[in-house]
Symmetry: C2
Subunit: 716 residues, 2 copies
């Protein structure tokens, strides 16, 4: 590995061609050298508390746990060794009953769903494999029994699931169908003669796939299969199916295949399961939402098969909620590492010819890291809202169909947003740390490898965003429906006209006039909350409207043509969904700031929120310009405003990551634990001593310059 053949910053011809090694000045220099103080400074404990949210206590306990070395990700092990280690770590967690918070009252628990998920999320900084293995065992396998089973079934199976006496797999996804759960092909056919279910995998595409615990550890599985009784297919239901005996041997008719090594999360034994006419008792159908009598008669409290199916699936939203929070925590860890390193690591002499510049003082470095820091703050506050909505529903405090639907939409919007952000952030941090970022002990590469699949499981990100778009469109359509029949046509015509008008460029000439010639005023006006909110709200709204209006012809088409028409707008639909997620995050960030009492924290976080708002607007600036929603004047200003915010926030970067409360034990990367600073001090001491002894060699360049000067002097 090598080399850049040139120096960075001698554009003005001033940097010495013959590089002097870094000298010893311990005072940092650079454009923004002074650390902030007083009123404009972040109150780190207060902001930290705000980030921890309602379940701060659960998080604190979990953070102590996540710092324990015996729970940490190993660096160089085979897949088999990692699996063994993770299983041993699971036994520790089971011993400590970490998922107890999720237990409902009748099983002796506090039914603290919010606290349980908060606690789970923190585990990601120990080892994502351990987190997801815990998620499979308690968040999916045990939860399926709790959410879909009767009290009797819960009492029969939950205690062993909680204690890890029964390690379990959550057997939903098949090779042939992942996100499209309704199309699953595994069957469970009722045999009234023996009062048993017969589970069967009809073809290879119906093998259950990617199941954590399936390759080795699972003794039972919650299997999603089409319930068939009396010749009728009642759609997908969930069954409790033992798969291995006490010795770990597969039970008759059960087959398993190992998924082998993966891109990450190799502490989990993902694998496949198939069933060859496997029989379980009638009472192994988790029967809260559908049951079969001994004679084979099917009953359900929910008449519509569609609604019944979505109700069952909806009970499992916790997975998405917790991945949203976990992804955000992973981003925080990555930013902690990269920003800490960037404030210590020096490369290239720039502003000071004898002192190299700290990475964080390069505009490009601020530009790659700070917008991600801002988005991570926005994501954290948005997640807290999601978690509270989740807890409201699952505690029963606010459990109605509308609240559930809102919760599901919010989870579907935020999980893809935060997992995408985490992958981008971790990768940016990895690259921002150069070669050191590629060394495993510095954590970033492992974090990316493990988090990678967070974008896929618990609902593929694209599919989830499609879901959000669909909900937004259907809300829009409902609004239309509230208008009377004749009114709809009028309404659509009006909106179309309004949209067309907006397309006249620079309708907002007023923006220009008021801003003209005063970039400071323009800066302040764009930093106004109202401006950002107006822009982001309008964008979220209009993008839906545009798609809806484009699709209005589809209503009259044949199903096939309508689907083709919808597909022609899929990209725009996804953009509308993303605009919605951006608005949700911006609002959550703003609300969180309003709740803070400390003035300094509000000031700094408002600038960070502005950076978030303005970068979101900047990333879609062409759209705003073309819609006439932002004037050319403001549009030209926005890039420099973003850069101005980067420098304003520069003095606060360490405080901003400190508020994440990433502790020793969470961060194990030597580059973020002072190693870099130590090396620099040693080098500086060496050069100091060398200068003192006057034994340092003179550089050829300096000699030549002296000679030149001497010759010139002679000539005069």
């Amino acid at each position: 590995m090598t080399v850049n053949a040139d120096r960075l910053t001698d554009l003005s011809g001033t940097a010495s061609e013959d590089a002097a090694p870094a000298t010893s000045s311990p005072t940092p220099t650079g454009p923004i050298p002074v650390p902030p103080s007083g009123a404009d400074r972040l109150d780190v404990p207060a902001v930290s508390e705000a980030l921890m949210g309602k379940w701060a206590d659960a998080r604190r306990t979990a953070r102590v746990r996540a710092a324990r070395p015996e729970l940490h990700r190993p660096l160089d092990v085979t897949v088999a060794e990692h699996r063994e280690l993770t299983y041993a770590q699971m036994e520790i967690l089971a011993e400590e009953n970490v998922s107890w918070l999720m237990m409902p009252e009748h099983l002796g628990g506090p039914n603290d769903n919010g606290g349980n998920v908060a606690s789970f999320e923190e585990l990601v900084v120990a080892d994502p494999s351990l987190q997801i293995k815990a998620g499979v065992q308690w968040g999916l396998f045990t939860s399926a029994i709790v959410q879909l089973g009767s009290e009797e079934q819960q009492k029969a199976w939950v205690p062993d699931a909680m204690s890890l006496a029964t390690p379990g797999a959550f057997a939903m996804t098949e090779i042939g169908h992942g996100s499209d759960v309704q199309a699953l092909a595994t069957t469970a056919t009722y045999d009234a003669a023996t009062e048993e279910w017969v589970l069967n995998t009809p073809f290879s595409a119906a093998w259950k796939e990617f199941l954590g615990n399936a390759a080795l550890h699972a003794k039972a599985a919650t299997v999603f299969a089409r319930l068939i009784t009396e010749g009728v297919d009642h759609g997908v239901h969930c069954f409790y199916v033992p798969v291995r005996d006490a010795e770990g041997e597969l039970l008759p008719g059960v087959r398993s295949k190992d998924d082998g090594p993966k891109g990450g999360l190799n502490g989990i034994d993902n694998g496949r399961l198939a069933f060859d006419q496997v029989r379980v008792p009638r009472t192994n159908l988790l029967n809260r939402y559908g049951d079969v009598a001994a004679d084979g008669t099917y009953t359900s409290p929910i008449e519509s098969p569609g609604r019944r199916f979505f109700t069952m699936l909806g009970t499992l939203v916790q997975g998405r909620v917790s991945l949203d929070g976990s992804a955000n925590r992973a981003s925080q860890l990555a930013l902690h590492i990269a920003i800490t390193y960037a404030t210590q690591r020096r490369q290239f002499t720039a502003a000071d010819p004898t002192q190299e510049t700290v990475l964080m003082d390069y505009q490009a470095h601020l530009h790659r890291l700070l917008p991600k820091l801002a988005a991570t703050y926005a994501g954290a506050f948005a997640h807290e809202q999601l978690l509270q909505a989740f807890d409201d529903v699952f505690s029963g405090r606010e459990d109605d169909p509308e609240a559930r639907e809102d919760l599901e939409t919010l989870a579907a919007a935020l999980k893809p947003t935060s997992t995408r952000l985490a992958l981008d952030t971790i990768q940016e941090c990895r690259e921002a740390c150069g070669g050191a970022g590629f060394i495993a002990e510095n954590q970033l590469v492992g974090l990316h490898q493990d988090l990678d699949v967070y974008a896929t499981f618990e609902g593929d990100n694209t599919v989830l965003m499609q879901l959000v778009a669909k909900r937004l469109l259907s809300d829009y359509t409902s609004e239309l429906k509230s208008v009377d029949r004749a009114g709809i046509g009028r309404f659509i015509a009006q909106r179309a006209e309004v949209l067309a008008k907006r397309h006249t460029p620079w309708a907002r000439l007023a923006q220009d006039l008021s801003d003209r010639g005063n970039s400071r005023r323009a800066f302040d006006s764009m930093r106004q909350s109202e401006f950002q909110e107006e822009m982001l709200t309008a964008r979220a709204r209009v993008k839906v409207e545009e798609v809806a209006l484009s699709l209005r012809s589809a209503a009259k088409m044949s199903p096939a043509d309508a689907a083709t028409e919808v597909n022609k707008h899929q990209v725009e639909m996804l953009e509308a969904a993303r605009a919605h997620a951006d608005l949700v995050r911006w609002r959550a960030f703003t609300t969180a700031i309003e709740k803070l009492e400390d003035e300094g924290s509000r000031t700094v976080l408002t600038e960070l929120r502005d950076l978030f708002g303005l970068t979101v607007i900047q990333d879609d600036l062409a759209w705003f310009l073309l819609g006439g929603m932002i004037s050319a004047q403001r549009g030209r200003q926005i890039g420099s405003d973003v850069r101005r915010l980067l420098w304003r926030l520069r003095p606060h970067v360490l405080d901003l990551v400190a508020a994440f409360d990433i502790r020793p034990g969470h961060v194990r990367a030597p580059i973020a634990l002072g190693g870099e600073k130590e090396r620099q001090d040693e080098a500086a001491a060496y050069f100091r001593a060398q200068r003192a002894s006057s034994e340092a060699p003179v550089s050829e360049k300096v000699l030549r310059d002296r000679e030149k000067t001497a010759r010139r002097a002679q000539k005069r």
Copy 2:
């Protein structure tokens, strides 16, 4: 892992709520079902040949080699095992003398530098670890001797380096300084008494770091150190230093540390080296560009220490050239896998209620993969130009300072561009393959892990782009210098006025008028080569100009202030460099198309080139709009034009990846080897048989619908 709680496409309320499993129709359906034929079809062998370029024969041989299983990446091994395997693979390559092409005539070789690099690039699809280990041995360690040593030195050390009798490390980077080679701190001090060099590592930050072969295998190293003789520091030179004895024990004074596990490339034993007053003979200085006589007198054919340094480094440009081609080949492999899978994998019923839709027929899927396919084509043709420029210089056919500088700038522009594209493309492909993309045997995750550091080594991507920006600015300044002194002020004033004028929005009203009301005409006009070229050229030019004009005040500033001023425009400088790289790629793509004889291939590739050009413009659309270079009318059109191109290219996707000539053995991913298709056929046969036997259960939904219909009939 689980689940999406909803169906994708029933916006129009038409998709069955109760999903019917996919039926058996073997004919693909969807918006673009018909494969192309005749005149509009890609001539795959011809395009394949064009992509292979001038060194097609070397590539063909190397592709056969890369398909051999004994050279392939292992999937589940420890770091130690992978290193051992890679070393054994290196012995095979050495045995077969794969790098023979690079040998100069006086060492009995053909001095075929282009062929050697082309051949090297193809190795990436076998195992990137093997590729980079070969690169360390022959591309860096051996090349340093060839490029920087005398013929005598070459004859002494090159044969053992080529045969792997002397595995070597390339000891340039230090912990403290990576891209900033001039600031290296290791010293080599001449001791005239013994006629020896004394190599020394003065402090821990000066340890040589990230060196392939350093942890275990290296017996010697080409060490970059500050040459000090007679009290003068002549700057960084390269020394041949034995580091381990025949038994592999470290020689006295040499220390080594293992970098341990990394994010990828774990077949390579990266590590650190330090020297504690290690002595080597005077003749171990590689002395082509600087030498020391027995008495300690320093001489060099290049007087300026700065120019001497850059000349030495410039001889090593081959690393960047070959990474550019390798990254491109890795993108091709990823696209081959993801696009093959996307044309077989079906999910969700959409256009056809009984047949699920192939992933490739979703607009969002086209939108995530095709622009990357287009950019990969552009990158391949741009790389071929780079490789020819490299060969022209290193064959001596066109070796002058200007050609070298152009070559170095082109390499500095393309290496970051293609490595960035590779990482983004591989990640996109991984996610586009869903859970299957995360399984190691499907190659994508390993490819991402290994390619990750390609963005950092051989010059960090950001630093290289900075270099390009600097060159562009200095060219611009030279242009100014050709104007007389008084003229410069006038020129700058003029340009500033021109730029300000451009900022009057919609100067190009004419665009609007000519396009208005005819989106087809607008589509054709934007697809015109001239339009894209004009836009991309102007963008590359104006972005440089804008930075140069912003910086004109810096010329009069103190060095420190000037550096601060430059730093305030770093992000814009990087954008200017990227705009330059985009233009280079677009032109290379266009030139390559012009050379093709087959009309069909030209048609299809022109559409692909248009997709590349228009997506580049679209990604920076706000800039074009704000500059008044693209009208609002055209700006609004561009998104739909891009989408139109996606559908036009849809029928050609398999041909387009076929031209990459990714062979069995290169692709080892089961998902791209027909496994998916096989499973679908099996499922379809099952449903066919079930229907034939009329034993299939009826769905509850269908029953309910029938009942409803019956009730309605009764009422009538």
